[in-house]
Protein backbone atom coordinates (compact mmCIF):
# COMPACT_ATOMS: atom_id res chain seq x y z
CA UNK A 1 0.00 0.00 0.00
CA UNK A 2 2.76 2.38 0.98
CA UNK A 3 4.57 1.56 -2.26
CA UNK A 4 1.38 2.44 -4.09
CA UNK A 5 1.27 5.89 -2.50
CA UNK A 6 4.89 6.46 -3.33
CA UNK A 7 4.24 5.48 -6.94
CA UNK A 8 1.23 7.80 -7.09
CA UNK A 9 3.33 10.57 -5.60
CA UNK A 10 5.96 10.09 -8.28
CA UNK A 11 3.35 10.35 -11.02
CA UNK A 12 2.01 13.52 -9.42
CA UNK A 13 5.51 14.95 -9.11
CA UNK A 14 6.04 14.16 -12.76
CA UNK A 15 3.14 16.30 -13.89
CA UNK A 16 2.97 19.10 -11.38
CA UNK A 17 5.44 21.42 -13.10
CA UNK A 18 4.74 20.50 -16.68
CA UNK A 19 1.76 22.72 -17.31
CA UNK A 20 2.91 26.24 -16.52
CA UNK A 21 0.45 28.61 -18.19
CA UNK A 22 2.81 30.06 -20.75
CA UNK A 23 1.25 32.09 -23.53
CA UNK A 24 2.36 31.46 -27.13
CA UNK A 25 4.41 34.68 -26.96
CA UNK A 26 6.04 33.53 -23.72
CA UNK A 27 6.87 30.20 -25.31
CA UNK A 28 8.48 31.97 -28.28
CA UNK A 29 10.59 34.03 -25.88
CA UNK A 30 11.58 30.99 -23.82
CA UNK A 31 12.42 29.12 -27.02
CA UNK A 32 14.69 31.97 -28.10
CA UNK A 33 16.63 31.70 -24.84
CA UNK A 34 17.73 28.09 -25.30
CA UNK A 35 21.47 27.43 -25.56
CA UNK A 36 20.77 25.48 -28.76
CA UNK A 37 19.80 28.79 -30.38
CA UNK A 38 23.25 30.33 -30.07
CA UNK A 39 24.36 31.01 -33.65
CA UNK A 40 27.90 30.44 -34.86
CA UNK A 41 30.23 33.09 -33.52
CA UNK A 42 30.71 35.86 -36.06
CA UNK A 43 33.99 35.69 -37.95
CA UNK A 44 36.60 38.23 -36.94
CA UNK A 45 38.04 39.50 -40.21
CA UNK A 46 40.88 41.15 -38.31
CA UNK A 47 42.22 37.72 -37.22
CA UNK A 48 42.65 35.36 -40.16
CA UNK A 49 44.15 32.72 -37.90
CA UNK A 50 41.22 32.35 -35.53
CA UNK A 51 40.11 28.96 -36.92
CA UNK A 52 43.59 27.53 -37.44
CA UNK A 53 43.99 24.51 -35.11
CA UNK A 54 47.70 25.30 -34.75
CA UNK A 55 46.85 28.83 -33.60
CA UNK A 56 44.27 27.43 -31.18
CA UNK A 57 46.84 25.01 -29.73
CA UNK A 58 49.47 27.75 -29.41
CA UNK A 59 46.91 30.09 -27.88
CA UNK A 60 46.00 27.52 -25.26
CA UNK A 61 49.66 27.10 -24.31
CA UNK A 62 50.07 30.86 -24.04
CA UNK A 63 46.84 31.26 -22.06
CA UNK A 64 48.17 29.09 -19.24
CA UNK A 65 51.88 29.97 -19.43
CA UNK A 66 52.92 31.98 -16.37
CA UNK A 67 56.30 32.77 -17.91
CA UNK A 68 54.47 35.35 -20.02
CA UNK A 69 54.57 37.97 -17.27
CA UNK A 70 57.17 40.16 -15.64
CA UNK A 71 57.33 38.21 -12.36
CA UNK A 72 56.90 34.86 -14.13
CA UNK A 73 53.88 33.81 -12.12
CA UNK A 74 50.91 35.38 -13.93
CA UNK A 75 49.02 33.89 -16.85
CA UNK A 76 45.64 34.67 -18.39
CA UNK A 77 44.34 31.83 -16.22
CA UNK A 78 45.40 33.65 -13.05
CA UNK A 79 42.18 35.65 -13.34
CA UNK A 80 40.35 33.60 -16.01
CA UNK A 81 40.27 30.34 -14.05
CA UNK A 82 38.80 27.36 -15.93
CA UNK A 83 37.19 25.86 -12.83
CA UNK A 84 35.25 29.08 -12.21
CA UNK A 85 33.89 29.82 -15.70
CA UNK A 86 37.21 31.44 -16.59
CA UNK A 87 36.72 34.21 -14.01
CA UNK A 88 38.07 34.58 -10.48
CA UNK A 89 35.20 35.33 -8.11
CA UNK A 90 36.88 38.51 -6.87
CA UNK A 91 35.42 42.01 -6.92
CA UNK A 92 38.26 43.21 -9.12
CA UNK A 93 40.87 41.23 -11.02
CA UNK A 94 44.05 40.72 -9.02
CA UNK A 95 47.45 39.64 -10.34
CA UNK A 96 50.54 41.80 -9.73
CA UNK A 97 48.15 44.46 -8.49
CA UNK A 98 44.41 45.06 -8.56
CA UNK A 99 42.56 46.17 -11.67
CA UNK A 100 39.62 48.60 -11.43
CA UNK A 101 37.12 46.13 -12.90
CA UNK A 102 35.62 42.69 -12.37
CA UNK A 103 37.13 39.77 -14.32
CA UNK A 104 34.64 38.58 -16.93
CA UNK A 105 33.92 34.95 -17.82
CA UNK A 106 34.91 33.72 -21.29
CA UNK A 107 32.29 31.24 -22.55
CA UNK A 108 30.98 32.33 -25.95
CA UNK A 109 33.11 35.46 -25.63
CA UNK A 110 33.67 35.61 -29.40
CA UNK A 111 30.04 36.67 -29.87
CA UNK A 112 30.88 40.18 -28.70
CA UNK A 113 31.56 43.09 -31.00
CA UNK A 114 33.29 45.00 -28.21
CA UNK A 115 35.51 43.72 -25.40
CA UNK A 116 36.07 44.70 -21.77
CA UNK A 117 33.27 46.20 -19.71
CA UNK A 118 33.69 49.49 -21.57
CA UNK A 119 34.29 47.98 -25.01
CA UNK A 120 37.63 49.70 -25.45
CA UNK A 121 38.80 46.88 -27.72
CA UNK A 122 37.08 45.87 -30.94
CA UNK A 123 38.42 42.33 -31.18
CA UNK A 124 39.16 39.44 -28.89
CA UNK A 125 42.82 39.42 -29.92
CA UNK A 126 43.23 43.12 -29.18
CA UNK A 127 41.60 42.53 -25.80
CA UNK A 128 44.01 39.69 -24.98
CA UNK A 129 46.99 42.01 -25.46
CA UNK A 130 46.01 44.67 -22.96
CA UNK A 131 46.56 42.69 -19.71
CA UNK A 132 49.96 41.52 -20.96
CA UNK A 133 51.23 45.12 -20.93
CA UNK A 134 49.25 46.30 -17.89
CA UNK A 135 51.51 46.83 -14.85
CA UNK A 136 48.71 45.54 -12.59
CA UNK A 137 48.30 42.31 -14.53
CA UNK A 138 51.11 40.53 -16.42
CA UNK A 139 53.31 43.61 -16.23
CA UNK A 140 55.64 42.73 -19.11
CA UNK A 141 56.57 44.46 -22.34
CA UNK A 142 56.00 43.42 -25.92
CA UNK A 143 59.76 42.97 -26.35
CA UNK A 144 59.78 40.52 -23.42
CA UNK A 145 56.93 38.54 -24.97
CA UNK A 146 58.65 38.41 -28.37
CA UNK A 147 61.78 37.01 -26.69
CA UNK A 148 59.71 34.48 -24.73
CA UNK A 149 58.03 33.28 -27.93
CA UNK A 150 61.41 32.89 -29.60
CA UNK A 151 62.71 30.91 -26.64
CA UNK A 152 59.73 28.66 -25.95
CA UNK A 153 57.38 28.56 -28.94
CA UNK A 154 59.44 29.38 -32.04
CA UNK A 155 58.33 26.37 -34.09
CA UNK A 156 54.68 26.62 -33.08
CA UNK A 157 54.64 30.36 -33.76
CA UNK A 158 56.42 30.19 -37.10
CA UNK A 159 54.11 27.41 -38.32
CA UNK A 160 51.20 29.82 -38.03
CA UNK A 161 52.62 33.30 -38.48
CA UNK A 162 55.86 32.83 -40.42
CA UNK A 163 59.44 33.59 -39.39
CA UNK A 164 60.10 35.50 -36.20
CA UNK A 165 62.13 38.69 -36.69
CA UNK A 166 65.73 38.97 -35.58
CA UNK A 167 65.56 39.95 -31.91
CA UNK A 168 69.30 39.97 -31.23
CA UNK A 169 69.37 43.75 -30.89
CA UNK A 170 66.06 44.09 -29.10
CA UNK A 171 66.40 44.62 -25.35
CA UNK A 172 64.42 42.18 -23.23
CA UNK A 173 62.40 44.88 -21.51
CA UNK A 174 61.15 47.48 -23.96
CA UNK A 175 57.65 48.60 -24.71
CA UNK A 176 55.54 51.74 -25.18
CA UNK A 177 53.50 51.10 -22.04
CA UNK A 178 56.17 49.97 -19.59
CA UNK A 179 58.21 51.75 -16.95
CA UNK A 180 60.17 54.85 -17.84
CA UNK A 181 63.26 52.76 -18.61
CA UNK A 182 61.22 50.35 -20.74
CA UNK A 183 59.66 53.20 -22.69
CA UNK A 184 63.08 54.82 -23.24
CA UNK A 185 64.44 51.50 -24.49
CA UNK A 186 61.47 51.17 -26.82
CA UNK A 187 61.87 54.66 -28.25
CA UNK A 188 65.52 53.91 -28.99
CA UNK A 189 64.53 51.11 -31.36
CA UNK A 190 64.25 51.65 -35.08
CA UNK A 191 60.64 52.04 -36.24
CA UNK A 192 60.87 48.92 -38.39
CA UNK A 193 62.07 46.92 -35.38
CA UNK A 194 59.26 48.35 -33.26
CA UNK A 195 56.80 47.30 -35.94
CA UNK A 196 58.24 43.79 -36.14
CA UNK A 197 58.10 43.33 -32.35
CA UNK A 198 54.59 44.73 -32.18
CA UNK A 199 53.54 42.33 -34.92
CA UNK A 200 54.79 39.36 -32.89
CA UNK A 201 52.91 40.76 -29.90
CA UNK A 202 49.72 41.15 -31.96
CA UNK A 203 50.06 37.59 -33.21
CA UNK A 204 50.21 36.31 -29.61
CA UNK A 205 46.85 37.98 -29.10
CA UNK A 206 45.49 36.34 -32.24
CA UNK A 207 46.56 32.91 -31.02
CA UNK A 208 45.09 33.46 -27.55
CA UNK A 209 41.84 34.69 -29.15
CA UNK A 210 41.74 31.59 -31.35
CA UNK A 211 41.80 29.48 -28.18
CA UNK A 212 39.30 31.63 -26.29
CA UNK A 213 36.94 31.33 -29.23
CA UNK A 214 36.58 27.62 -28.47
CA UNK A 215 35.15 28.22 -24.96
CA UNK A 216 31.44 27.59 -24.66
CA UNK A 217 28.73 27.11 -22.05
CA UNK A 218 27.32 23.71 -21.16
CA UNK A 219 23.50 23.36 -21.19
CA UNK A 220 21.74 24.40 -17.99
CA UNK A 221 18.68 23.17 -16.11
CA UNK A 222 16.77 25.97 -17.79
CA UNK A 223 17.78 24.66 -21.22
CA UNK A 224 16.51 21.16 -20.43
CA UNK A 225 13.23 22.66 -19.23
CA UNK A 226 12.89 24.96 -22.24
CA UNK A 227 13.73 22.23 -24.75
CA UNK A 228 11.07 20.00 -23.21
CA UNK A 229 8.53 22.85 -23.32
CA UNK A 230 9.31 23.63 -26.94
CA UNK A 231 8.94 19.97 -27.88
CA UNK A 232 5.53 20.07 -26.21
CA UNK A 233 6.30 17.20 -23.88
CA UNK A 234 3.18 16.53 -21.84
CA UNK A 235 5.15 15.30 -18.87
CA UNK A 236 8.56 16.59 -17.89
CA UNK A 237 11.23 14.27 -16.57
CA UNK A 238 12.85 15.03 -13.25
CA UNK A 239 15.87 16.61 -14.96
CA UNK A 240 13.63 18.81 -17.09
CA UNK A 241 11.57 20.39 -14.34
CA UNK A 242 11.73 23.80 -12.75
CA UNK A 243 10.10 24.39 -9.39
CA UNK A 244 7.10 26.68 -9.14
CA UNK A 245 9.34 29.35 -7.64
CA UNK A 246 11.79 29.05 -10.54
CA UNK A 247 8.94 29.23 -13.05
CA UNK A 248 7.65 32.34 -11.28
CA UNK A 249 11.12 33.82 -11.59
CA UNK A 250 11.24 32.99 -15.30
CA UNK A 251 7.83 34.62 -15.79
CA UNK A 252 9.11 37.78 -14.09
CA UNK A 253 12.35 37.65 -16.08
CA UNK A 254 10.54 37.71 -19.43
CA UNK A 255 7.52 39.66 -18.19
CA UNK A 256 7.01 42.40 -15.66
CA UNK A 257 10.65 42.42 -14.57
CA UNK A 258 11.71 43.27 -18.14
CA UNK A 259 15.08 41.65 -17.48
CA UNK A 260 15.19 40.17 -20.97
CA UNK A 261 15.01 43.52 -22.70
CA UNK A 262 18.78 43.77 -22.23
CA UNK A 263 19.50 40.18 -21.13
CA UNK A 264 18.09 38.91 -24.39
CA UNK A 265 18.62 35.83 -26.54
CA UNK A 266 20.34 32.57 -25.68
CA UNK A 267 23.38 34.26 -24.15
CA UNK A 268 21.11 36.66 -22.24
CA UNK A 269 22.90 39.79 -23.32
CA UNK A 270 22.49 42.34 -26.10
CA UNK A 271 26.31 42.75 -26.18
CA UNK A 272 25.92 46.51 -25.82
CA UNK A 273 26.37 49.24 -23.20
CA UNK A 274 23.77 50.62 -20.85
CA UNK A 275 23.73 52.90 -17.87
CA UNK A 276 21.85 51.41 -14.96
CA UNK A 277 23.26 53.74 -12.33
CA UNK A 278 25.19 51.12 -10.43
CA UNK A 279 26.98 52.95 -7.61
CA UNK A 280 30.65 53.59 -8.39
CA UNK A 281 33.25 51.55 -6.54
CA UNK A 282 34.66 54.73 -5.02
CA UNK A 283 31.95 57.26 -4.13
CA UNK A 284 32.61 60.55 -5.89
CA UNK A 285 34.86 58.95 -8.49
CA UNK A 286 32.52 57.58 -11.15
CA UNK A 287 33.90 55.25 -13.79
CA UNK A 288 32.76 56.73 -17.11
CA UNK A 289 32.68 53.33 -18.80
CA UNK A 290 31.74 53.29 -22.47
CA UNK A 291 31.97 57.08 -22.74
CA UNK A 292 35.77 56.77 -22.61
CA UNK A 293 35.94 53.20 -23.93
CA UNK A 294 34.51 54.17 -27.32
CA UNK A 295 37.19 56.80 -27.85
CA UNK A 296 39.88 54.37 -26.69
CA UNK A 297 38.69 51.80 -29.23
CA UNK A 298 38.93 54.40 -32.00
CA UNK A 299 42.48 55.32 -30.98
CA UNK A 300 43.72 51.76 -30.35
CA UNK A 301 46.79 50.79 -32.42
CA UNK A 302 45.47 47.20 -32.45
CA UNK A 303 41.97 47.98 -33.69
CA UNK A 304 40.38 46.65 -36.87
CA UNK A 305 41.71 49.54 -38.94
CA UNK A 306 45.23 49.35 -37.51
CA UNK A 307 48.47 48.08 -39.02
CA UNK A 308 48.17 44.66 -37.33
CA UNK A 309 44.64 43.86 -38.45
CA UNK A 310 44.00 41.31 -41.20
CA UNK A 311 40.76 43.01 -42.21
CA UNK A 312 40.04 45.23 -45.18
CA UNK A 313 38.91 48.67 -43.96
CA UNK A 314 35.42 48.04 -45.36
CA UNK A 315 35.11 45.04 -43.01
CA UNK A 316 35.61 47.20 -39.90
CA UNK A 317 31.95 48.15 -39.74
CA UNK A 318 31.53 48.24 -35.96
CA UNK A 319 34.37 50.72 -35.71
CA UNK A 320 33.15 52.77 -38.65
CA UNK A 321 29.66 53.16 -37.18
CA UNK A 322 30.67 53.41 -33.52
CA UNK A 323 28.62 55.67 -31.25
CA UNK A 324 30.95 57.95 -29.33
CA UNK A 325 30.87 61.26 -27.52
CA UNK A 326 27.29 60.72 -26.37
CA UNK A 327 26.62 61.65 -22.71
CA UNK A 328 24.28 58.67 -22.52
CA UNK A 329 27.39 56.50 -22.64
CA UNK A 330 28.65 57.93 -19.35
CA UNK A 331 28.77 55.11 -16.80
CA UNK A 332 27.38 52.71 -19.38
CA UNK A 333 28.80 49.20 -19.21
CA UNK A 334 28.35 46.10 -21.31
CA UNK A 335 25.39 43.90 -20.47
CA UNK A 336 26.84 40.69 -19.02
CA UNK A 337 25.46 37.35 -20.13
CA UNK A 338 23.64 35.53 -17.37
CA UNK A 339 24.55 31.90 -17.95
CA UNK A 340 26.29 30.66 -14.83
CA UNK A 341 25.56 33.95 -13.08
CA UNK A 342 24.45 32.50 -9.74
CA UNK A 343 27.94 31.15 -9.05
CA UNK A 344 29.72 34.31 -10.17
CA UNK A 345 29.37 36.68 -7.22
CA UNK A 346 30.20 39.47 -6.68
CA UNK A 347 28.38 41.40 -9.41
CA UNK A 348 28.60 44.45 -11.65
CA UNK A 349 31.61 45.93 -13.38
CA UNK A 350 33.61 46.45 -10.20
CA UNK A 351 32.07 43.78 -7.99
CA UNK A 352 30.08 46.40 -6.11
CA UNK A 353 27.11 44.17 -5.31
CA UNK A 354 27.76 41.06 -3.26
CA UNK A 355 24.74 38.95 -4.15
CA UNK A 356 22.05 38.49 -6.78
CA UNK A 357 19.53 39.64 -4.18
CA UNK A 358 21.39 42.97 -4.02
CA UNK A 359 21.46 43.18 -7.81
CA UNK A 360 17.72 42.64 -8.07
CA UNK A 361 17.12 45.17 -5.30
CA UNK A 362 19.16 47.68 -7.32
CA UNK A 363 17.12 47.10 -10.45
CA UNK A 364 13.87 47.34 -8.51
CA UNK A 365 14.95 50.64 -6.97
CA UNK A 366 16.09 52.06 -10.35
CA UNK A 367 18.13 55.08 -9.17
CA UNK A 368 17.93 58.29 -11.21
CA UNK A 369 20.78 59.31 -13.48
CA UNK A 370 22.95 62.36 -12.75
CA UNK A 371 22.20 65.56 -14.72
CA UNK A 372 25.55 65.33 -16.58
CA UNK A 373 24.65 61.85 -17.79
CA UNK A 374 21.32 62.86 -19.25
CA UNK A 375 20.26 64.21 -22.57
CA UNK A 376 16.96 65.84 -23.36
CA UNK A 377 15.40 64.67 -26.59
CA UNK A 378 12.02 65.85 -27.77
CA UNK A 379 11.34 67.15 -24.27
CA UNK A 380 12.04 63.80 -22.63
CA UNK A 381 14.91 63.19 -20.23
CA UNK A 382 17.14 60.29 -21.20
CA UNK A 383 19.58 58.85 -18.69
CA UNK A 384 19.40 55.67 -16.67
CA UNK A 385 17.44 53.12 -18.65
CA UNK A 386 15.88 51.55 -15.58
CA UNK A 387 12.25 51.93 -14.68
CA UNK A 388 11.22 51.39 -11.05
CA UNK A 389 9.82 47.94 -10.43
CA UNK A 390 7.71 46.83 -7.51
CA UNK A 391 8.77 43.37 -6.42
CA UNK A 392 7.63 41.51 -3.33
CA UNK A 393 10.24 39.64 -1.34
CA UNK A 394 8.86 36.41 -2.77
CA UNK A 395 9.14 37.70 -6.32
CA UNK A 396 12.72 38.87 -5.79
CA UNK A 397 13.56 35.45 -4.37
CA UNK A 398 11.89 33.81 -7.35
CA UNK A 399 14.07 35.79 -9.75
CA UNK A 400 17.16 34.66 -7.84
CA UNK A 401 15.89 31.07 -7.98
CA UNK A 402 15.35 31.30 -11.74
CA UNK A 403 18.84 32.72 -12.32
CA UNK A 404 20.25 29.70 -10.49
CA UNK A 405 18.68 27.44 -13.15
CA UNK A 406 21.11 28.97 -15.68
CA UNK A 407 23.87 26.85 -14.16
CA UNK A 408 26.82 26.42 -16.48
CA UNK A 409 30.35 25.26 -16.67
CA UNK A 410 32.68 26.35 -19.44
CA UNK A 411 34.27 23.86 -21.77
CA UNK A 412 36.31 23.92 -24.97
CA UNK A 413 34.08 23.45 -27.99
CA UNK A 414 36.22 20.65 -29.36
CA UNK A 415 35.24 18.64 -26.29
CA UNK A 416 31.57 19.51 -26.71
CA UNK A 417 31.35 18.37 -30.32
CA UNK A 418 33.80 15.46 -30.19
CA UNK A 419 32.43 12.57 -32.20
CA UNK A 420 32.18 9.20 -30.48
CA UNK A 421 34.83 6.77 -31.69
Amino acid sequence: MRAGWIALGMVFAGTVHAQAPWSPADLDTIASMRLSQVPAAPADASNRHERDPRAIALGKELFFDERFSKPGNVSCATCHQPAFQFQDGKPRGRAIGETPRRTQPLAHVAHNAWFFWDGRKDSLWAQALAPLEDAREHGGTRALYAHLVAEHYRAEYEAVFGPLPDLSNVPRDAGPKGTTAERVAWRALDKTVQLAVSRVFANLGKAIAAYERTLVHTPSRFDRYAEALVRGKPRLDESERLTREEETGLALFIGRGRCNTCHTGPLMTDHYFHSTRVPPREPGRPDLGRYLGADEALADEFNCLGAFSDAQPAQCRELRFIVHGDPLLKRAFKTPGLRGVATRAPYMHAGQLASLARVIAHYAEAPESLPAERRIVQGHVMGSELLPLKLSDKEAAALVAFLATLDSTTIERATAVAKPE
Binding site: S32, R256, R320, V381, L387
Partner: protein
Protein backbone atom coordinates in the same frame (compact mmCIF):
# COMPACT_ATOMS: atom_id res chain seq x y z
CA UNK B 1 18.46 73.03 -35.28
CA UNK B 2 18.08 69.64 -36.91
CA UNK B 3 21.75 68.86 -36.54
CA UNK B 4 21.52 68.25 -32.82
CA UNK B 5 19.06 65.48 -33.51
CA UNK B 6 21.30 63.61 -35.88
CA UNK B 7 24.57 63.92 -34.01
CA UNK B 8 23.44 61.41 -31.44
CA UNK B 9 21.19 58.38 -31.55
CA UNK B 10 17.73 59.78 -31.30
CA UNK B 11 14.72 58.34 -29.61
CA UNK B 12 11.64 60.24 -30.46
CA UNK B 13 8.81 59.28 -28.18
CA UNK B 14 10.27 58.47 -24.85
CA UNK B 15 7.18 57.78 -22.88
CA UNK B 16 8.16 55.47 -20.05
CA UNK B 17 5.97 52.70 -21.29
CA UNK B 18 6.96 49.16 -20.57
CA UNK B 19 5.67 47.57 -23.72
CA UNK B 20 5.17 48.38 -27.36
CA UNK B 21 1.90 50.03 -28.35
CA UNK B 22 -0.61 47.46 -29.45
CA UNK B 23 -1.59 49.11 -32.74
CA UNK B 24 1.55 50.45 -34.35
CA UNK B 25 1.54 52.26 -37.66
CA UNK B 26 4.06 50.13 -39.54
CA UNK B 27 3.86 52.12 -42.75
CA UNK B 28 7.25 52.78 -44.31
CA UNK B 29 5.99 55.44 -46.73
CA UNK B 30 4.56 58.62 -45.25
CA UNK B 31 4.54 62.40 -45.19
CA UNK B 32 6.97 64.09 -42.82
CA UNK B 33 5.76 65.63 -39.60
CA UNK B 34 4.98 69.05 -41.10
CA UNK B 35 4.01 67.63 -44.47
CA UNK B 36 6.95 69.16 -46.32
CA UNK B 37 8.25 65.91 -47.80
CA UNK B 38 7.22 62.36 -48.53
CA UNK B 39 9.66 59.73 -47.29
CA UNK B 40 9.79 56.02 -47.97
CA UNK B 41 12.10 53.75 -46.00
CA UNK B 42 13.43 50.78 -47.94
CA UNK B 43 14.40 47.99 -45.54
CA UNK B 44 17.01 45.39 -46.46
CA UNK B 45 15.84 42.03 -47.75
CA UNK B 46 15.67 39.67 -45.98
CA UNK B 47 14.62 41.67 -42.93
CA UNK B 48 17.59 42.58 -40.76
CA UNK B 49 18.42 40.22 -37.94
CA UNK B 50 19.38 41.33 -34.48
CA UNK B 51 23.12 41.93 -33.85
CA UNK B 52 23.94 42.40 -37.55
CA UNK B 53 24.94 45.62 -39.28
CA UNK B 54 22.80 46.33 -42.33
CA UNK B 55 22.13 48.99 -44.91
CA UNK B 56 18.85 50.75 -45.73
CA UNK B 57 17.69 53.15 -48.40
CA UNK B 58 15.54 56.23 -48.10
CA UNK B 59 13.43 57.58 -50.95
CA UNK B 60 12.96 61.34 -50.57
CA UNK B 61 10.15 62.98 -52.50
CA UNK B 62 8.00 66.05 -52.64
CA UNK B 63 4.54 65.44 -51.16
CA UNK B 64 3.26 64.63 -54.65
CA UNK B 65 5.94 61.95 -55.17
CA UNK B 66 8.61 63.72 -57.24
CA UNK B 67 12.12 62.53 -56.25
CA UNK B 68 14.29 65.12 -54.50
CA UNK B 69 17.97 64.86 -55.34
CA UNK B 70 20.91 66.42 -53.51
CA UNK B 71 19.13 66.62 -50.18
CA UNK B 72 20.59 65.90 -46.76
CA UNK B 73 19.02 62.80 -45.23
CA UNK B 74 19.84 61.12 -41.93
CA UNK B 75 18.47 57.94 -40.39
CA UNK B 76 18.62 57.15 -36.69
CA UNK B 77 16.48 55.47 -34.11
CA UNK B 78 15.95 53.92 -30.72
CA UNK B 79 13.64 51.90 -28.51
CA UNK B 80 10.94 54.13 -27.01
CA UNK B 81 10.09 51.56 -24.35
CA UNK B 82 13.68 51.22 -23.20
CA UNK B 83 15.09 54.74 -23.38
CA UNK B 84 18.11 53.96 -25.55
CA UNK B 85 19.19 54.65 -29.10
CA UNK B 86 20.78 52.56 -31.80
CA UNK B 87 24.03 50.77 -30.95
CA UNK B 88 25.55 52.30 -34.08
CA UNK B 89 25.63 55.70 -35.73
CA UNK B 90 24.43 55.14 -39.31
CA UNK B 91 25.95 57.13 -42.14
CA UNK B 92 24.21 58.34 -45.31
CA UNK B 93 26.80 57.53 -47.95
CA UNK B 94 25.13 59.12 -50.96
CA UNK B 95 22.48 58.80 -53.62
CA UNK B 96 22.28 55.62 -55.66
CA UNK B 97 19.61 57.18 -57.91
CA UNK B 98 18.02 60.63 -57.91
CA UNK B 99 16.19 60.91 -54.60
CA UNK B 100 17.28 57.45 -53.38
CA UNK B 101 19.73 57.74 -50.49
CA UNK B 102 21.78 54.82 -49.16
CA UNK B 103 22.29 54.56 -45.39
CA UNK B 104 24.93 52.20 -44.01
CA UNK B 105 25.56 51.05 -40.45
CA UNK B 106 22.12 50.30 -39.03
CA UNK B 107 22.04 47.76 -36.22
CA UNK B 108 19.48 46.48 -33.74
CA UNK B 109 20.77 44.96 -30.52
CA UNK B 110 17.41 43.77 -29.20
CA UNK B 111 14.21 42.37 -30.61
CA UNK B 112 11.10 44.47 -30.14
CA UNK B 113 9.70 47.88 -31.07
CA UNK B 114 12.15 50.35 -32.57
CA UNK B 115 11.35 53.85 -33.69
CA UNK B 116 13.28 55.12 -36.71
CA UNK B 117 13.60 58.80 -37.39
CA UNK B 118 14.52 60.37 -40.71
CA UNK B 119 15.80 63.93 -40.57
CA UNK B 120 15.71 65.82 -43.87
CA UNK B 121 17.10 69.08 -45.13
CA UNK B 122 16.27 69.83 -48.75
CA UNK B 123 14.79 72.52 -50.96
CA UNK B 124 15.74 75.13 -48.37
CA UNK B 125 13.70 73.63 -45.55
CA UNK B 126 13.77 70.75 -43.07
CA UNK B 127 11.43 68.23 -41.50
CA UNK B 128 11.28 64.84 -39.74
CA UNK B 129 9.47 61.58 -40.21
CA UNK B 130 9.02 58.82 -37.65
CA UNK B 131 8.59 55.17 -38.49
CA UNK B 132 7.91 52.11 -36.38
CA UNK B 133 9.85 48.93 -36.97
CA UNK B 134 9.48 45.60 -35.20
CA UNK B 135 12.55 43.40 -34.84
CA UNK B 136 11.37 39.83 -34.52
CA UNK B 137 12.84 37.19 -32.26
CA UNK B 138 15.37 35.13 -34.18
CA UNK B 139 13.77 32.16 -35.90
CA UNK B 140 14.25 28.87 -34.07
CA UNK B 141 17.23 26.91 -35.34
Amino acid sequence: MWRKYVLFPVVGLLAACASAPTALDLSLDKLTKEGKFRVALVAPVPEPAVHQIHDWSIRLMTPDGTPIAKGLVYLNGGMPGHGHGLPTRPITVGETAPGLYRVEGMKFNMPGHWELIVAIQANGTEDFAYFNWMVALPKAR
